[in-house]
């Protein structure tokens, strides 16, 4: 097991409470930042760490913070994105549920660096039970003087509030989240202006994922350079991976970025191999929005290099033969899974969750769902594959926010790598009417090569 910067204490008894959290070294980063550092010095450490946004986009956190506008007399905000709803991802929930003070601790030096005196944790409505845990932890932190006025006598004031969403995947997109936090529908905004200039209530705002803010704690404690020593290239530090689907040991694992994908899937320290003793068919390594990788491309790239758990290695080969690290929602398909059924399921999700603002996405997600429904239920023809390809290609890049891309990519990748399963569905209409047809008789895989 590699270094555990976030999960080291997660199994300690009582760690949900302030007393045990503090006894295990909690809130040291607040003492260090507020007593010995300037806001600029905290920002400098985050920049040096190379920390990239852990929500999915992977944008460097220090750079995002440095864009924050600082007009005189206008409040600034840190909004923590706890709207975790990317299918396959459940790591933020794990942190907030088990060790809520880590998030609250991370918020304090982050707000100090930004000069923000108010922070909102926007949490998805379905996580009501976790919001209660956070609220209790926040109350403990206020009572102990970690939040409120003049923290540690530094003159720095900070209020933290939990804000409930109400069930909308799109609110994980930062500008939709801000609209929702203003009490509106979650329709993403046109950028620019970016939230760093005009965010919550048109005031300068940074929106960061829960895991990103938690990672600020070890960065302040150990220093940005120490953090950056972990990892490979521009993928520094540790990352939480949510492992699910057909694996023997589903759960949240903290990995040092750079371990081989094969080790992560096959080692008993992590996923413990593919479940059911069945052959591996495919894997979605970064949440439902990233391209699916067939078994042949998961452990090695098309160049026959070892595929690593890093932003760069997982995207090696572009969309032709690569994927993305995304949010770290890693889910696995063995040969009993039907790729057509999964793709239909994903497209139903995106149709359901489209905010409806841009026509290509609002209409296109519905068309994709309908075509895929026909494939899954034995009603499609082989040339419908081209129709489906045509619809997805007209969504990508033609919408206000990346949701349209996220809806199109999984469909494109499924056709690219599993065209034979679509053909099978078109030519075996009776067989595929049984949703469990792959469990009874796996679909034959054609000879193919990704070399070069």
């Amino acid at each position: 097991m590699g270094r555990q910067l976030l999960l080291e204490h997660i199994d300690k008894p009582g760690i949900r409470g302030l007393e045990a959290y503090r006894a295990n070294g909690g809130y040291r980063s607040v003492e260090k930042a507020l007593r010995t550092m300037s806001p600029e010095a905290v920002l400098e450490e985050v920049k040096k760490s190379g920390l990239r946004g852990r929500g999915g986009a992977g944008f460097p956190a220090g750079m995002k913070w440095s864009f924050l506008a600082k007009p005189e007399g206008v409040p600034r905000y840190l909004v923590v994105n706890a709207d975790e709803s990317e299918p396959g991802t459940f790591k933020d929930r794990y942190l907030m549920e088990r060790i809520p003070h880590l998030l609250i601790e991370g918020i304090i030096p982050s707000c100090f660096a930004m000069g923000a005196n108010t922070s909102y944790i926007y949490i998805r409505g379905e996580y009501f039970h976790i919001a209660r845990i956070l609220e209790q932890a926040i109350a403990e932190a206020y009572a102990a003087g970690w939040l409120g006025k003049n923290i540690l006598g530094s003159g720095f004031d900070l209020d933290v509030f939990v804000h409930m969403g109400a069930g909308a995947y799109i609110c994980g997109e930062e500008t939709a989240l801000l609209e929702s936090l203003e009490g509106k529908r979650g329709n993403p905004r046109i950028k620019p202006p970016f939230p760093a200039v005009k965010g919550l209530w048109q005031r300068p705002t940074v929106v960061n994922n829960v895991e990103t803010i938690c990672a600020v704690v070890p960065i302040v404690n150990e220093g940005g350079e120490e953090y950056a020593k972990i990892g490979v290239g521009r993928s520094t530090g540790t990352k939480l991976i949510s492992a699910g689907g057909h694996v023997n040991r589903p759960g949240v694992y903290e990995i040092e970025l750079g371990i081989p994908v094969e080790e992560f899937l096959m080692s008993d320290e992590y996923c413990g191999g593919v479940s059911g003793g069945r052959p591996l068919k495919a894997c979605i390594p970064g949440g439902s929005s990233v391209p699916i990788l067939p078994a042949e491309l998961l452990f090695r790239t098309a160049k026959f290099e070892t595929r690593l758990m890093t932003y760069e290695s997982l995207s090696d080969g572009g969309f032709q033969t690569g994927s993305m690290l995304g949010s770290g929602g890693f889910y696995v398909f063995n040969d009993t899974a039907c790729i057509v059924r999964s793709t239909w399921n994903h497209s139903r999700f995106y149709h359901h969750e489209s905010c409806g603002q841009c026509s290509p996405c609002r209409e296109g997600t519905g068309w994709m769902e309908k075509i895929l429904y026909r494939f899954e239920h034995g009603l499609a023809r082989t040339d419908d594959i081209d129709l489906l390809w045509d619809v997805q290609r007209r969504i990508e890049g033609n919408t206000i926010c990346p949701f349209g891309d996220a809806a199109a990519w999984p469909v494109a990748a499924s056709i690219r790598h599993f065209r034979h399963e679509f053909e099978y569905h078109a030519t075996h209409p009776t067989k595929v009417k049984d949703p469990k047809h792959c469990e009874k008789e796996p679909i034959p895989v054609p000879e193919r090569s990704y070399a070069g």
């Binding site: 975790e84 709803s85 990317e86 299918p87 396959g88 991802t89 459940f90 933020d92 929930r93 909102y120 998805r124 409505g125 379905e126 996580y127 009501f128 039970h129 209660r132 509030f161 804000h163 409930m164 969403g165 109400a166 069930g167 909308a168 995947y169 929702s180 936090l181 203003e182 009490g183 509106k184 529908r185 979650g186 209530w201 949510s242 492992a243 699910g244 689907g245 057909h246 589903p250 759960g251 949240v252 979605i284 439902s288 929602g329 889910y331 398909f333 899974a337 059924r341 999964s342 399921n345 994903h346 999700f349 149709h351 359901h352 969750e353 489209s354 905010c355 409806g356 949703p435």
Partner: protein
């Protein structure tokens, strides 16, 4: 959006709505979290409270009361209530069983769970039993993929589901007089 169904717009025979004292005090706490000029930000959290106070769904009366409380137009509440999937715009059963159906749960057997609950209760997803006890919903990813399959009932997640677990949960809930709300502590 598929779930942006038309709200129940009639008021005939629908009970009037008024916040209880406890609920109003919770609303005031929530309002204190936002600058006074941006009190509309409290809309979604307060809609959750209104829904819990109104037997688990938002009638026109309930939505109008929220608008009056926040001093905003009724339409500003309707457009939000119709956008978010956790707001029920029609009456629901006492216990709403929301089973995740997205791929990570599907890979671990959620289709069978949904079919089993449906046949046991004699309803399709979206339906409510004639005695008003249960509503079954198939919902999208609830962030519980590592503990799949799962369902949510009120604030509680029921994870690692099996057919046997679902059966005993249904029996247990049948004997519970109180509604399960998202806002339960």
């Amino acid at each position: 959006m598929e779930h942006a169904t038309k709200p129940h717009t009639t008021t005939d025979g629908i009970a009037p709505f008024a916040f209880s004292e406890d609920a109003l005090s919770e609303c005031r706490t929530i309002l204190g979290r936002y600058p006074a000029e941006f009190s509309k930000s409290a809309l979604i959290p307060i809609l959750h409270i209104a829904q819990a106070e109104n037997d688990g769904w938002l009638s026109v009366h309930a939505m109008n009361a929220v608008a009056d409380l926040l001093k905003i137009q009724y339409i500003e509440v309707y457009e939000v209530a119709t956008f978010y999937s956790m707001f029920n715009l029609h009456p629901v059963g006492k216990h709403v069983l929301e089973v995740c159906r997205t791929v990570p749960c599907m890979l671990r057997g959620s289709d069978d769970i949904i079919a089993h609950i449906g046949s046991r209760l004699g309803i399709e997803p979206g339906g409510t039993t004639p005695d008003g006890m249960f509503t079954l919903k198939a919902v999208e990813c609830l962030g519980s993929c590592g503990t799949a399959p799962m369902l949510q009932c009120g604030a509680k997640y029921h994870e690692h589901l099996t057919i046997e677990k679902v059966d005993s949960l249904i029996e247990k809930l049948r004997g519970e007089p109180k509604r399960n709300n998202y806002t339960d502590r």
